[in-house]
Amino acid sequence: MSKKLHVTTTLNGQPTEFLCEARQSLLEVLRDVVGLTGSKEGCNNGNCGACTVLLDGLPVNSCLVLGVEVEGAQVTTIEGIADGSHLHPIQQCFLEGAALQCGICTPGFIMASKALLEKNPNPSEHEIRFELAGNLCRCTGYDKIVRAVQEAAVALK
């Protein structure tokens, strides 16, 4: 068995170190080593986006990033976007807009939406649906999710 590797990274703004096997994905590390279970495993192969985190500001499927690859990088997860007990406006809009049912896809959608609104503060409905195509939802039919992102765009102005 290969030795565990020591990784130093910045996780939700905090300098963080962990040990992991080379084969462990960032998703596994977040959930099973660091204990941040907000990122979800939906497919483990890059299709569903439930594991979406921001890596140096970019949305990525954490199931397709190895834990060792975040050495020296900035990782932001769903646990890192609220300000203390104040929800991020995107979280607030998802709640108020009832843009979730089972909630498994929700952290991934919120992280991808956050990245979207930072890149494009005023996206059209078409742009929202296109950019969030990497996030799948089996419950809602997407409509309330899209509306929540539109509301969040307004709230973030």
Binding site: A22, L55, L58, N61
Partner: protein, 289 residues
């Protein structure tokens, strides 16, 4: 996933040495969006994974209007379409980069990786072929160039020999009055794998009414991506009209040898080649004007 060792090479020499020494036991890691899934599903195997993203040449993207584009093999897709100059110079490549997977995939996946993975349905390969791209490959024996059109040898297999790495894609500078486009047919709007993919690059005459030259390439209709040579040659000197585009579609269908699988029957795919070539050619011509 089976246990493996991880090494991040910081120079090309180091990567080549590691890969040559480990032989078939080692796999290269760029974006990881294909290889990690394959390792997890035991479709490919590795005792050593060599991360090449710390090698400067692999991550460099250099464009010059006279030299063309040198695209490091590990450059993620998003860097292509977020670059105004490059995305305008190579629209077909940008079309491809924009629709490989979704945003999360494009943050990591590379054109070089898409090529090396050698899926017959790969979205970037027809665009690379249409744009007449070459592969710069480095290995224990030195450097060599391989035309992209010859790089894929069978489904999932490429021309790289033991210890060789694809370092960069080299694409000639766009000529005046040229345009290109990639489009695919998929069941949804995003995220699927191409049922048929078509890339076209054209150059028009000064008046903009005649095609001086064209390159048509197809995805998902043969064991490897296909350069539709006869259909491309047919277009030289033809008027840039819908009748010409229709005829080119009919020519291109002759090189389509698809299989029937869960994404569609073979005869439907051949039909789609005709439809898409006609449409993509018209759009490439528009872009050339």
């Amino acid at each position: 996933m089976k246990d493996f060792e991880y090494a991040a090479a910081t120079t090309l020499d180091e990567a080549v040495s590691l890969l040559a020494a480990a032989g078939t036991r080692a796999k290269v890691l760029a974006g990881g969006t294909d290889i990690l899934v394959q390792l997890r599903e035991h479709l490919r195997d590795a005792d050593l994974v060599v991360d090449i993203k710390k090698i400067p040449d692999l991550m460099a993207m250099r464009y010059d209007a006279n030299q063309g584009l040198s695209l490091g093999a590990s450059v993620p897709c998003y860097r292509i379409y977020e670059d105004d100059i490059i995305s305008r110079a190579y629209p077909a490549l940008t079309d491809s980069a924009r629709i490989i997977g979704g945003w999360q995939i494009q943050s990591r996946a590379s054109i070089g990786g898409n090529l090396c993975n050698a899926s017959p349905a790969a979205d970037s390969i027809p665009s690379l072929i249409a744009l007449d791209a070459q592969c710069r490959v480095v290995g224990p024996q030195g450097t060599r160039k391989i035309p992209v059109a010859e790089f894929c040898t069978a489904p999932g297999k490429n021309a790289l020999q033991q210890g060789e790495i694809l370092v960069a894609l080299e694409i000639p500078p766009p000529s005046a009055r040229s345009g290109s486009r990639y489009e695919r047919f998929i069941p949804r709007n995003e995220m699927d794998i191409a049922v048929v993919g078509v890339a076209v690059s054209v150059r028009l005459n000064e008046a903009g009414d005649t095609i001086e030259s064209a390159r048509i390439a197809l995805a998902a209709v043969a064991p490897t991506p296909v350069f539709a040579r006869e259909a491309s040659d047919f277009l030289s000197g033809k008027p840039a009209t819908p009748e010409t585009f229709e005829q080119a579609g009919i020519e291109a269908r002759k090189v389509a040898k698809p299989i029937s699988d869960m994404r569609g029957p073979a005869d439907y795919r051949v039909h789609l080649v005709g439809v898409l070539v006609k449409r993509v050619l018209a759009e490439a011509v528009q872009r050339a004007k």
